[in-house]
């Protein structure tokens, strides 16, 4: 795999990891691009302030760079990054308050819910990457940019009356991809 003119959208996480190990600079950029929002979302789920969240972000990617070679299963890169980030967030919180973090079961439950939501969002993003560019675009325009069928139809040169059915078919494909990818994976792949 080379870094020139690569369409990363269709490349799996495991392939990106392998390319990183092979020293592909473009793959490293893709890895950071692919997981930066995930890492920041976990930091924010821990209610870290912006400076601390940014520190965790930097430290997480430094550790990923240093330890990626020790990742046991390339498929487990996301749970590994998630666990690494969570650990760094908790270290940061402990350093700040000098007391046990999230001892309150309600607080822990709330944190778990936020982290689950982050994981689900990332799983949806991963599933989206497996769809065709057309499907990704139509779903993005309708659900993320709140565009109307008429607007989407004009942009994609389709009658507005057909957009809804097309979105439904793309959603069905997304659901299929999501369900195929949401099998539980081990939390740690590091030796």
């Amino acid at each position: 795999m080379t870094g020139t003119a690569m369409d990363w959208a269709s490349v799996s996480d495991a392939e990106v990891v392998r390319a990183c190990r092979a020293g592909d600079d473009a793959a490293w950029r893709e890895l950071v691009e692919r997981f930066s929002r995930y890492v920041l979302a976990i930091a924010r789920a821990h209610r870290l302030g912006e400076p601390d969240a940014e520190d965790v972000f930097q430290e997480t990617f430094v550790r990923i760079y240093e330890h990626l070679g020790r990742l046991r299963s390339d498929d487990a890169v996301r749970p590994w990054i998630g666990q690494l980030t969570r650990r760094l967030c908790i270290d940061r919180l402990r350093a700040a308050v000098r007391e046990p973090v999230a001892d309150d079961p309600e607080e822990q439950g709330e944190l778990d819910r936020r982290l689950t939501a982050v994981d689900e969002a990332v799983s949806v993003q991963e599933a989206l990457r497996t769809l065709s560019a057309d499907c990704r675009e139509i779903l993005d325009r309708f659900f993320c940019r709140d565009q109307s069928y008429h607007t989407i139809g004009e942009l994609l040169d389709l009658p507005p009356g057909t957009i809804a059915s097309r979105i439904s078919r793309c959603l069905a494909k997304l659901r299929e991809a999501y369900e195929g990818r949401s099998e539980p994976r081990p939390a740690s792949g590091e030796t």
Partner: protein
Amino acid sequence: MPGDDLSALPVQGLLDELASESPAPAGGSAAAVAVAMAAALVEMGARRSPAWDDAIGVAAQARAIRRRTVPLVQADADAYAASLAALASIESIQDAPGAERDEAIASALAGAADVALAIARAGTDTAFLAELVADRGEPSGRDDAQAAAVLAEAGTRVAAALVAANLVTAEGDDRETAAASCARSAAMVRSRMGE
């Protein structure tokens, strides 16, 4: 009604607000509620059609439209109140040149036109979905799908009229054309579905 969100009120409370002497909320908020109700009926029709392959996708789209329309109930009231306040303040600059006054009035009304156009677009989309549910969903849900189409058309037409009213000083504005097109599309869809 500053400080409260109209969409969080019980139905009776919302109706009381609409009926009050206060100029806002008014027709735009009512149109947004009509469109949101239509989207909810479409979602129900899709959910009750398990044998239809596209049902889950249509329900998801109806839910998305409802979620983006509900905040417009309050947004329209806010935009209308803001435009009324701006118009009142413009009256105090009677001595300003005509073109300057026109520009100030157009600017005051533009926000209300944007919200109304968003309602009109959501209404048209809901009408398209209602037609799909009526055609391909469970036959027992056809009456509710037709009700959804009527509500969606009504909300769209009201919103399109408000866009036109708010852009009365801005001749040739694309938003007026877009809103009129929404109203025509919603009426066409409802008409295809019959009475």
